[in-house]
């Protein structure tokens, strides 16, 4: 009988009203496990740095056998979790005094513990949605901003796994509101209005993040018509075109996306270009003909022609007189896709936006 309403409230409610539990502050200060963002300025180089208590944020710690995760004093109630997310994205994400990799590692870890507290307490769906949305924007932003980093510094796979997990959780929460059928009791009608804006955005983000995935496409086309916004249509068009090999349409439509979604789509370009080269190697196969570099640069959203030349050589294709000599025998099928590159155009757009505002309030 686990399915009735009563079972829902068998969860603990946290009593920790700070971003970090008292015990952890003491322990981490004692063990010198403070992050530079959590130290009283000027004491960084002391043998015993002092904790800046209002800047301490609870660390993620893996649940393990024998470890008691359910102490209310160590759990933050939803309002404090939201406050923590706001603090991290507002005060830390935009800092420019340290490398963004350090910022990423710190925020990533602390957000993970926010998610953990959220799950252990099974906080209300409205809170989960409000907490998850900025987290997802952060992970999406990070996956683009750090895509050129070395794998030892930033592992895109781990980041993507987190992003996918958060997204799926968020979509589950959305589905629940679908089932409510707008029968607005307890003021949830107001919340549903708020959802209208954000939901179509995150549903699109799911489609773009999982470009060419039939599961994601199927989900989006099954959405009830009230969520099928312009943005969803564009995202679907991109993903279906990607599936059907229409890379020209994909690249044209990417430019119509909002910046953060466009940056996520950019991460699929190496794969898209690879398959474009594969198709073109057969379709433009010729000893005498060349495909002009400038045309291809524009078609496949390359920053510079040097990047195309690099990619062509990598896949075994010849470049002569500013033109590519496509040949089905030269193209090397076995080469994995090239490393991701950031897009100059998107970088410019992002540099004109305040990161904290983007992550907290969306675009």
């Amino acid at each position: 009988m686990t399915l009735n309403n009563e079972s829902e409230r068998n969860y603990i409610i946290g009593t920790c009203m700070k971003m970090c539990p008292e015990k952890e502050i003491k322990m981490r200060e004692r063990e010198r496990l403070l992050h530079i963002f959590e130290i009283v300025q000027g004491t960084e180089n002391h043998p015993m740095p002092i904790a800046q208590i209002d800047q301490m944020v609870k660390c993620f710690s893996r649940s393990a056998a024998g470890k008691f995760m359910q102490d209310p004093e160590n759990l933050r109630p939803p309002a404090v979790l939201l406050e923590t997310v706001n603090y991290l994205l507002d005060n830390i994400a935009g800092r420019t005094d340290v490398s963004w990799l350090i910022i990423y590692d710190f925020i990533m870890d602390r957000l993970r513990s926010v998610r953990q507290d959220m799950v252990i307490q099974n906080v209300s769906r409205a809170y989960q949605i409000t907490i998850l949305q900025p987290i997802i924007r952060f992970l999406a932003y990070a996956s683009y901003r750090l895509c050129e980093e070395n794998v030892t510094d930033f592992d895109p796979h781990i980041n993507n796994t987190h992003l996918q997990e958060c997204l799926k959780r968020l979509l589950c929460m959305y589905d629940y509101y679908d089932e409510l059928n707008d029968t607005s009791k307890d003021g949830s009608g107001f919340f549903i209005d708020l959802l209208k804006e954000s939901r179509q955005y995150f549903e699109s983000l799911y489609v773009i993040f999982n470009l060419g995935s039939t599961t994601a496409i199927t989900r989006a086309i099954n959405l009830s018509s009230k969520w099928r916004s312009h943005l969803i249509e564009t995202s679907l068009e991109i993903s279906i075109s990607y599936l059907n090999g229409n890379f020209v349409r994909v690249c044209k439509a990417i430019e119509r996306l909002p910046t953060l979604l466009a940056s996520l789509a950019t991460l699929h370009l190496p794969e898209l270009r690879r398959s474009s080269f594969k198709i073109m190697s057969t379709a433009y196969h010729s000893k005498n003909l060349r495909y002009p570099l400038d045309a291809l640069q524009h078609l496949l959203l390359y920053n510079t022609q040097d990047e195309i030349i690099y990619d062509c050589k990598y896949y075994g294709l010849n470049v002569l007189n500013n033109g590519i000599q496509f040949s089905k025998t030269d193209f090397d099928q076995n080469k994995p896709k090239v490393h991701s590159r950031r897009s100059k155009e998107i970088d410019i757009k992002l540099s004109n936006i305040d990161i904290s505002t983007l992550l907290l309030f969306g675009e």
């Binding site: 399915l3 589950c172 199927t218 059907n244 090999g245 229409n246 044209k252 057969t282 379709a283 433009y284």
Partner: protein
Amino acid sequence: MAFMTLAHFLQILDRSWRNQDGNKIAQFMSLRHDHAKYPNYQVEQPEGLVDRFLTSPLDELVCLHLKCLYSISRDDFLMAYNLQSQLIQSFTKILQAQKDENWALPIMFTVCSDLRLIAQRAEKQRVGASENPGEILEKAAECLMGCFRVCAADNRSAEEDTKRIGMLGLVNQLFKVYFRINKLHLCKPLIRAIESSPFKESFPLGQQVTYRYFVGRKAMYDSNYKAADEYLTYAFQNCHRTSRKNKRLILIYLVPIKMLLGYVPSRYVLEKYDVIQFWDLVQAVCQGNLRLFDELLEQHETFFIKCGIYLIVDKLKIVAYRNLFRKVYLILNTHQIPVESLQSALEYLGQDVDLDETQCIVANLIYDGKIKGYISHQHRKVVVSKQNPFPPLTSLT
């Protein structure tokens, strides 16, 4: 079924159990059998009466069954679901204890498909109570997996007594759940279990048809059209001719797949099985009439989405491109087709494409072997082969 007192009903159950008459018990334990409708079988606390007639282990099953009927009569499907799943858990233990005998399999099939049906009703009733949609069905699937494990692990019995022959029926039930909750990846281990089973060919034909239907649909989602064609064709050909509803269901998937592979369904078959909606689509694809194609896709969007064939129907557009380009080629009667001509044909049919995208579409067709030739970007020409530039689709692998 004629009216029968509960006592009489219990006596028959008792006798059938002793006689190992699985079919009879299956009927009397079914939520869909006639007796389910009579109020005298819908008992809230049947223990007293049941204990007078039945002994362990049957008494527990029958008590749960009668309670379940009671809950259904009260429209409490969540409770009914819980009772039926307890029933299956007890039954699984009984089944496991029966060494070297498989007469109870018909009971298993009945209670298991009942559980699935009840879970579906409970899903609808549940709204708001639990966290994720599909959760009850997923729990039901776990329950069925319990039975499946017992069957699959029964490898000591002789061939005529083995419970492994019950695997396919359960797999089909699980497929139905997984397709409904959209968790197709869970099908994979089940398919492997069946494909490697020594009884692969000896399962009842009806079950094989159902199995091939679902595996075919899964292959379709995985874009494995050749395999999808094989499975669905088998299902269609072997499905009993009186099961028109099922034959129609199979055709809904088989028709677009066959079309993608270059076959054209006959109007007669489409009419016979009431899927005439496809006829216009067939016309649009054959003529390369993309305007009509777009209109039909929009007009029948809900139907295509509901059946889960939207994406594959959308893929038929590629076949339509091929047919249109072939027409342009025949009209111009040249082996060097200007890309501009192809683009104007597309534009004329309402497609919003420029020269680059037209070339991209052609490039894909050449890559797939649907057009033989190459593109010259400088001259903006598609140079097609002198021999057989548009090979029949059916000749492609």
